[in-house]
Assembly symmetry: C2
Homo-oligomer: 204 residues x 2
DNA sequence: TGTACATCAGTGAACGCGCGTTCACTGATGTAC
DNA sequence: TGTACATCAGTGAACGCGCGTTCACTGATGTAC
């Protein structure tokens, strides 16, 4: 699916939403061609504005990319929380849903998923992207702690959280790299893997 | 550590090794500045040759990047095999060493590690990078099958291999993104995690 | 061993292109009176 | 309600730059005789 101009030039003037729209355009282009090929000019074409317009909202190209990544991880966090909220807090089902939403986001927006982590990994100092990542991890530790019937996180619950995160993170990358297959080529259901592996880790 | 010219212009002439040297330069630059910032011209400066020289060995910039990734995954495969070969075939220790070498490669060359998988994941058709990945996975299945005392891989041994791969792949990304920490900030020893989680998965 | 020559693997200058960014500008909007 | 004006958020033209790639070339090497 080729990206197309979403807004006519006329409507773009003072529409009050250009920042958000440029972020969407950036994300769409990254998925379509990869972050290496991304250009500010392309994002402008897609949003239907002049190439100077983004500089009212972002300092540099790098800022645009980081804003796109930040928007991505925030959406991811929201979806994970929404999925977990369908189940009792601290339940096995809630934890599974939390992890499943993690992998689903990676599958839905693989290039953005990759970019989120390569930015968060490359930046030395604390930044909003890492902060949101910390919130996700904190929510995981909290659920695990509740699941185990404890009032405060301890070494055990945090090590278990790390194991769960490892599995979910690993599954995400294997899924978007097309490796989640049985030897005969049939697809592996990552939800099943999360439920079974997650169960085994939690029950030790 | 800034990359520096490794060879004087004089020596570069007909040195018979320019292809390999450009690959090393490409890898060094990717680690230093990230793949987005990589340019053919920079690689030439680092190798001490003119900007036209690479075109004796590569068709395009993209070819150079792919050659760098292919060289990377082949080195990784060799190191993993060398590490596993220190232990009896099909032993727990051999499997752990195999996985530990996987994560160690990711930690040593994080940007190359990322690039290997984003190229392998993005390419539709089979390519040499994916082929090498398949060899690594096949070696894992083989070891697991031996460990379980079976003569042929079956559903069980391949599912266990997938779980092990998930853990090792996930740990690699968490490690290079600086997430392998206890809540108090002290580092988590990924070798311990591999041995313990791997043991639990293998023993079910 | 010496010479002629084909081939290989570089050089260095040049190219056109698209990019990121800047600038003076202007049309649209909201508000004070 | 109508008008004047400050501010906001765009335009469009332009810039200089560095890039990927091409080209005719040339020095070094290996080989046939």
């Amino acid at each position: 699916m080729a990206a197309k101009a979403a807004v006519s030039r006329k409507d773009a003037y003072h529409h009050g939403d250009l920042r958000a729209q440029l972020i969407r355009a950036t994300q769409a282009l990254i998925e379509e061609r990869g972050p290496e090929k991304f250009s500010v000019a392309d994002a402008c074409r897609l949003a239907g504005v002049s190439t100077a317009a983004p500089y009212r909202h972002f300092d540099t190209k790098q800022d645009m990319l980081e804003a796109a990544a930040l928007d991505g991880i925030r959406r991811k966090y929201q979806r994970m929380c929404a999925a977990a909220a369908q189940h009792p807090p601290g339940s096995m089902e809630g934890l599974s849903a939390f992890g499943i939403a993690y992998v689903e986001f990676a599958i839905a927006e693989p290039e953005l998923f990759r970019m989120i982590f390569s930015i968060a990994g490359r930046e030395d100092c604390a930044n909003p992207i890492s902060d949101t990542g910390e919130m996700i991890y904190a929510a995981c530790i909290d659920s695990v702690t509740r699941y185990m019937g404890k009032s405060e996180p301890d070494d055990e619950s945090s090590m278990i959280s790390l194991s769960l995160w490892t599995v979910v993170h690993g599954l995400s990358f294997l899924a978007i790299d097309g490796k989640l297959k049985h030897p005969d080529g049939s697809p592996v259901d990552f939800r099943e893997v999360i439920r079974s592996t997650g169960g085994r880790i939690l029950r030790q």
